[in-house]
Amino acid sequence: MRSWKFGDNIDTDAIIPGRYLVHYDPKVLASHAFEGIRDDFSKRAEEGDVIVAGRNFGCGSSREHAPLALAGAGIRVVIARSFARIFYRNAINVGLLPLVCHDSDKIADGEVVRVNVGEGFVEAGGQRYSVEPVPGFMQEIVAAGGLVEYARKIPEVKLCTALHP
């Protein structure tokens, strides 16, 4: 449940370098996560640890290998001040929860973080910080367990219907 703290503009090349994109197994990808950026991550990250970052986490390439690499390392939640668009969607789609928290900089590296999605806050260092809820329609995908499960449940899409923003 410890935090792995990163700064602003952590791009998907940093999360998983281009030379490993031939692989799709989350465990294999996890063994190269943050390679050269933070080498202890792949060795020491444990199930349930969280990533805590600044602005624009996951910017750059659309590679879904990035959220998969984090999921493969046991990460279930990423807490950041803001996310890049494609990463945010990819994370939701593969069942990794991206939480926007304006106070993410107040959480220290290695700190124990408790996440309470239902009530919309995270706790670290004796402090409670609120997190923004996932946008309306995406909550259905989260509730389904990811976009694959969501897609399996619907026989067809209703074109041009307005979804809850």
């Binding site: 791009d11 390439s61 668009r85 494609i86 789609n93 976009l147 694959v148 219907t161 923003p165």
Partner: protein, 422 residues
């Protein structure tokens, strides 16, 4: 389809409104059908896997799926070769046309085959899909699972973005162009300054700009977090599309009273060549600030700057001279068609004579996967779109981004050089 808009709409709102036959405003989330979907060798296999996990049996429309290999070609490893085989089998099974390794970089190929056009919605499993906005399409990059959904349903949910309008005025000085402009804009807006927005390019500079330059600008919209970079279709657009597909021109632009989330203007008449310094795209400076920086590798190519116009500009700066033997120069045309144009114009002979390595059309060193990787401590100067730490190899290497003119000038001397002075 006749739609009467109650209030002014942006170009992007109009695209979604045309699609849905009703007024759609920024901020709405809609399930919209797509006109084309592109997958390549890196993100394609996972998209196909997700398509199958979703219960997909046959793709929504085999003629609307664009499939080719460009990131790791010819296969640079056995896993890459296996991915290619996997996608070839999928193409055969679904009767999807597969350009395989033959055509070049996905984004260039989509554009030159006329697969994206004004008013259309196009998605690609690659972040630089936003480049097709140069054709007046709403085009955006998506992940593999989203693409699996698209392959099955032919539709995807979109949050219709607000638009930031960029008005560009003035004539470019000698040896300054679209890449310098977009690097300057990225520095101004910042790496996340346009997150979830559309960037609409207008103004007399854009009106004069050829499609090649517009593609360069739209390509890098994602480097500011934008969903798409888009240029309202005009004569240049329709002239580009005419020989490529059957399409009748129609008016499509933002209304005068459209609501923009932001407006910025730029004057290029005094713009200096720009160089993005390590390790972020928004760290651009005038070339004079970094002139003299030693470089080990110069890469001229990519979906950002691998077109004939880019190669021509580089060749003009090069002239009859030879590249410095202190630097490795790699030139890669963006596509087979651009390669042929460059060959026929004698540009390839010029580059090879000058000491460059000319590779067959592909992404090359841009994504640090296939070849041309950097060792710790090395410096690359690249006409591509990203200079993230580790992007082109070692995380202890540095990547600078620039225009083809600056790349060619710097390759002459083995150090970053102002193209106006050579």
């Amino acid at each position: 389809m006749l739609l009467i808009y109650i209030m002014g709409m942006t170009l992007v709102e109009k695209i979604f409104s045309r699609k849905c036959g009703r007024e759609v405003q920024a901020g709405e989330v809609v399930m919209a059908s797509v006109d084309a979907a592109m997958i390549h060798d890196i993100t394609g296999p996972l998209a196909v896997q997700k398509f199958r996990e979703m219960g997909g049996k046959s793709v929504f429309d085999r003629n609307r799926v664009i499939l080719l290999f460009d990131h790791q070609i010819p296969a640079d490893s056995i896993p890459a070769a296996e991915n290619h085989v996997f996608l070839r089998r999928f193409a055969a099974e679904q009767k999807i046309h597969n350009d395989d390794i033959r055509e070049g970089i996905c984004h260039q190929v989509v554009m030159e085959k006329g697969k994206a056009g004004p008013g259309e919605i196009v998605v690609g499993a690659d972040s630089h899909t936003c480049m097709y906005g140069a054709s007046g399409a709403f085009a955006t990059g998506i992940g593999s699972t989203d693409m699996g959904f698209v392959l099955k349903f032919g539709a995807l949910y979109f949050r219709v973005p607000d638009t930031i309008r960029l008005t560009v005025k003035g004539l470019f000085p000698e040896r300054v162009g679209a890449k310098d402009l977009i690097l300057a804009i990225a520095s101004d807006i910042g790496a996340d300054g346009a997150t979830y927005h559309a960037l609409e390019f207008t103004g007399d500079t854009m009106a004069r700009m050829e499609m090649a330059g517009r593609m360069t600008c739209c390509n890098m919209a994602v480097e500011m977090g934008a969903k798409v970079g888009i240029v309202p279709p005009d004569e240049v657009t329709w002239d580009y599309l005419k020989p490529r597909r059957k399409i009748d021109p129609f008016p499509l632009s933002s209304d005068k009273d459209a609501l923009f989330a932001g407006e910025r203007s730029y004057d290029v008449s005094n713009l200096a060549p720009q160089v993005a310094t390590p390790h972020n795209v928004d760290q651009g400076v005038d070339v004079t600030k970094v002139a003299g920086t030693k470089v080990d590798q110069v890469f001229i190519g990519s979906c950002t700057n691998g077109r004939f116009e880019d190669l021509k500009e580089a060749a003009e700066v090069l002239g009859d001279r030879a590249f410095s033997d202190r630097v490795r120069v790699i030139v890669i045309p963006a596509s087979r068609r651009e390669y042929l144009k460059a060959l026929q114009a004698g540009l390839i002979e010029r580059f090879v004579s000058a000491g460059a390595l000319v590779e067959a059309p592909c992404c090359g060193p841009c994504m640090g996967g296939a070849f041309g990787l950097l060792a710790p401590g090395e410096v690359s100067l690249s006409t591509s779109n990203r200079n993230f730490r580790g992007r082109q190899g070692s995380t202890d290497a540095s990547v600078y981004l620039c225009s083809p003119a600056t790349a060619a000038a710097s390759a002459l001397f083995g150090e970053i050089t102002d193209p106006r002075e050579v």
